[in-house]
Symmetry: C2
Subunit: 221 residues, 2 copies
DNA sequence: TTTGATGTGTAACTTATGTTACACTTAAAT
DNA sequence: ATTTAAGTGTAACATAAGTTACACATCAAA
């Protein structure tokens, strides 16, 4: 699974260039929050682009690393829920709370739009980020809509196969994998060992080898 | 469940104004496809914005899962997978096939970017659409990551509650609801009747009434 | 009003997965 | 080298959901 955190930092890169390319009259503001302060409540209107420039916050939602609903910790620099800025129902779906003293840069929606007109790179980053996010969600949705554990495993392994070939490393332990799939750890272990037993896959520590690709494909239905 | 088709037509509105506001030198092309022609194969590069301007197409998740993400029929006017145009891995995730003679307008990626600079409304529509799409996916993902049937029902009913109050109509029959939740029909019926038994909800034909909202909320965990 | 199609309720049974618990292994820390 | 923590395998059992099957209800068409 790809870590999509990298694009987030790309996305906020524009801040570094502020002195150079940005409209001098751009409206924005910084706000500092204390530890354990609630920044957004669920249902709050999201009428600006909020970028966490320092500190860290926690929120509950689907995590960027792909784990199912739980508490996600967001470290600066990263925008907060930029996907909701332009949606028709632009309200925060979750509560956001600081974990330490944190600073948030806020750019009003209309200014964001203006900025995009002036700064094609900023626009591009925004578009790319949201596109990646959509793709990520689509992929997760596919994975979750497979109902059997072996099916989920197959989906995941075939993805790796497409990227790396029939042998690859998985840098997650069973517990993390189980969380990723949204299943119980012993259940995952059972399915995995059955698949090894049946010679569908071979596992040595964190190295996985696909022995029967066609069978894996048949599990996706 | 909200119908998100409406935004799609908004999004393509720019076509109507072509003569007025669009750069005269905008590069674009039209292509006509016969019935049952494959327009895109899974994995095809998506390097342009494709808008279905007449006709209709169907898409299938080739790899996965029956009911849940099954076959979608798309009628003109609507763009095809615009979310993928800007993603890092910009390949079509699905196969797209015409259902009748159909016409597709194609605007190269770079031209789309230029267009956005010139036409703030176009950009806005694009942003709004993708934001709504993300929200839709997020919501769907939330629903799917609830593991019990009663939990899924609760999630769905509470959504209706927030929009319409404690009594509302559901214009789907049990079979459709079961497909929507990705569960078996008799299992859904069993859960529903238990919830009625326990006086959590009341059902009369397609009219649902929420009797114990707090209990429904407790099912979401 | 009869017929057929579509939808609903529900029972008996099967199956996959979750739960809990514990022994064993490996890696890390002292 | 010894101790500790983290990770893995797996067994026994509980439970939710799937499967199949069928009776009954509703509604529209003939």
């Amino acid at each position: 699974m790809k870590n999509i955190d990298t694009e987030w930092s790309d996305f906020t890169r524009f801040e570094d260039n502020e002195n150079n390319n940005f409209p001098a009259d751009l409206k924005y503001s910084y706000k500092t929050y204390l530890k354990n302060e609630i920044i957004f409540r669920q249902g709050n209107l999201c009428d600006a682009l909020y970028i966490l420039v320092s500190g860290s916050v926690k929120t509950e939602m689907i995590t960027e690393t792909g784990n199912l609903m739980g508490i996600e910790i967001i470290k600066a620099p990263r925008p907060l829920a930029p996907a909701f800025l332009f949606s028709d129902n632009n309200r925060f779906p979750v509560e956001v709370t600081t974990l330490e003293v944190s600073e948030i840069l806020q750019i009003p929606k209309e200014e964001v739009i203006r900025l995009m007109g002036v700064q094609p790179n900023f626009m591009r980053q925004f578009l790319v980020h949201n596109a990646n996010r959509t793709q990520f969600l689509t992929n997760r949705l596919q994975m979750l809509s497979i109902k059997t554990i072996k099916g989920k495993i197959a989906h995941f392994l075939l993805e790796q196969y497409n990227e790396y070939g029939k042998t690859f490393q998985i840098n997650r332990n069973q517990t993390e994998l189980a969380e990723f799939f949204g299943v119980a750890r012993p259940s995952l272990a059972r399915s995995l060992s059955e698949m090894v037993q049946d010679e569908i896959i071979f596992i040595n520590k964190k190295e996985y080898t696909i022995l029967n690709k066609d069978y894996l494909k048949s599990l996706l239905v």
